[in-house]
């Protein structure tokens, strides 16, 4: 099972480290990372594998959201299917 993590906000040191630390603690594997500046905002998109995850989904989602608040960023995790179903036939 895969999920997409999006980080949107002002670029700063340590974003990837912060997110990947949480993911490592939860045993979530990072499959792909892309980052870009879109409409003046730093945007990082991570594709992750959550099939071996040690916590429940809402727990990981809460941890990421909390970290985002601490760093002044928006960090979200969503099941990959929402993007596939909207953009792929």
């Amino acid at each position: 099972m895969r999920a997409v993590i999006t980080v949107i906000g002002k670029d700063k040191v340590g974003i990837i480290a912060a997110v990947s630390n949480i993911l490592a603690d939860c045993n979530v594997n990072i499959l792909d990372i892309s980052q870009t500046i879109m409409q003046d905002m730093f945007t990082m998109i991570m594709l992750v594998d959550i099939s071996q995850m040690k916590v429940i989904f809402s727990n990981l989602s809460d941890q990421l959201e909390k970290k985002g608040q601490e760093m002044g960023l928006s960090i979200k995790i969503q099941h990959e299917d929402i993007f596939n179903s909207m953009h792929r036939i």
Binding site: I45, L47, K76, H79, I82, M86, R88
Partner: protein
């Protein structure tokens, strides 16, 4: 892999353009709950609803969290209570409404629909009792919604029922006068009512439906409006194409949520209702889509054509996105629930007559319209008669949800709170329809050849 642009587009639709799933509605058959003793029937009803829907709210919240898409309402629709209650000999069905209210409270849904009767060709004893119970039932409960089907294309219009519903609406307004006649916001009078509609106040679980089913209603007027902002000045082919593509994306969300909810609840997937349902929030208005097409205000000449295009393009885009579509499927034009409609009425651009014309080309009808408290029951019945005639002749669903607000007159404002919004009191035609409504009887079913 999904591109960053696509990820951001989806997130923007949800965060900035108010894309949401408006409702997951569980339809539950109560046909095995009839009993000659009212108390036993009510116990069976309560137990069945609370058993089948016990997980509905939690599953909705889980999906919301995992997919990151808001699911605004979780609701229940049940078999029309008139069919269940009439096996017992009680005269008053208010206790059945109270049971529904209690069950809805217990499972945490925000509305339960199905305090309903289908009387398009005539009344059974149970249906007569149910309709008489509506005003008290709606004033004594919080979450119960009621609907009455008074006409179909195949049966014609039951004018006795149309006449009675005028009285029932007035009485409901009187009993809920303290809340601006709020009871009437939970009561819909239909022609050609669909059996699988997930939206309130008109949802019920039709007799052709399975034991238990999940129906989903999507929303997203804000997304369509934002998409159209990008094609300013383009011709109507481009406008239609843009709406179709956007409707496709919106509906795919509904399809995904419906499938996931039905899988997790172990209940069959019914339909996705392809509706653009507005809310009073800024940026979530159907009227503003019409204005984006080039109308200065919703209600200006051209509004009906704009709405026809919108409604058709939503259906075309949505149909391909979902395996089963149904319900009301179309753009909703409730006045109090749409910031653009409220503004258009306040500025004098939009009248009941224009809204009536608009209902010829979209779902669902004269919806959430507040009129002066002294509007007569006969005038309300005549408004219903006009609206259901449009549905009957054009072979479509139409409905009336009208609130004669006690003590208010044209130009006043009434607030209902939450998704029901607020409404300016609209002017009705002051000439009498009394003698027309007093005739009673049935208007015969229309002929469907010689279509002119």
């Amino acid at each position: 892999m999904i591109t960053p642009f696509e990820v951001i587009e989806t997130i923007k639709m949800i965060q900035e353009e108010n894309l949401d799933i408006r409702t997951i509605t569980m339809g539950i058959s109560l046909r095995d709950c009839s009993h000659s003793e009212g108390n036993i029937a009510r116990e069976k009803i309560y137990n069945k609803i609370t058993r089948l829907a016990s997980n509905l709210v939690k599953v909705g919240q889980d999906i919301e969290k995992e997919y990151g898409i808001p699911i605004i309402n979780k609701r229940i629709a049940v078999t029309p209570i008139s069919l269940i209650a009439e096996s017992c000999d009680e005269e008053d069905y208010v206790k059945f409404a109270e049971t529904l209210d209690k069950a809805a409270e217990a499972v945490g849904v925000n509305f339960i629909g199905g305090f309903s009767a289908l009387v398009h060709k005539g009344y059974t004893v149970g249906e007569q009792k149910l309709i008489k119970s509506i005003p008290t039932a709606l004033s004594a409960t919080k979450k119960v919604c009621s609907s009455v089907n008074v006409a179909t294309t195949k049966a014609g219009i039951n004018m006795d029922a149309v006449g009675e519903m005028g009285q029932i609406i007035k009485e409901t307004a009187r009993l809920t006068a303290g809340d601006g006649g709020l009871g009437c916001a939970k009561l819909v009078v239909f022609a050609n009512v669909p059996e699988d509609n997930p939206f309130m106040a008109g949802a019920f679980h039709g007799i052709g439906e399975p034991e238990c089913v999940i129906n989903v209603g999507v929303s997203g007027p804000g997304v369509v409006k934002c998409a159209l902002e990008k094609v300013k000045g383009a011709d109507f082919g481009t406008v239609a194409e843009t709406i179709k593509k956007t409707a496709f994306k919106i509906t795919r969300m509904g399809q995904l949520v419906a499938q996931e909810a039905s899988k997790r609840l172990g209940v069959s997937f019914g339909i996705v209702d392809l509706s653009l349902a507005p809310t009073p929030a800024i940026g979530d208005s159907v009227a503003h889509i019409l204005e984006e097409m080039g109308l200065e205000k919703c209600g200006a000449h051209g509004t009906t054509a704009a709405l026809a295009l919108l409604n058709d393009a939503v259906k075309k885009g949505g149909t391909m996105a979902s395996s089963y579509v149904g319900g009301l499927s179309g753009a909703f034009i409730p006045v109090s629930e749409d910031a653009g409609m409220i503004d258009a009425v306040t500025k004098g651009a939009l009248s009941i007559e224009k809204l009536e014309a608009m209902t010829c080309v979209c779902s669902v009808g004269l919806d959430m319209i507040a009129v002066p408290g002294d509007t007569s029951a006969e005038t309300i019945s005549a408004i219903i008669a006009d609206e259901v005639a449009i549905g009957v002749i054009n072979n479509k669903t139409t409905a009336v949800r009208i609130i004669p607000v006690p003590g208010k007159k044209v130009g006043d404002i009434v607030g209902f709170g939450g998704l029901l919004g607020y409404a300016p009191i609209m002017k009705v035609n002051e000439y009498s329809s009394d003698a027309f409504i007093k005739r009673g009887g049935r208007i015969p079913a229309p002929i469907h050849s010689l279509r002119n």
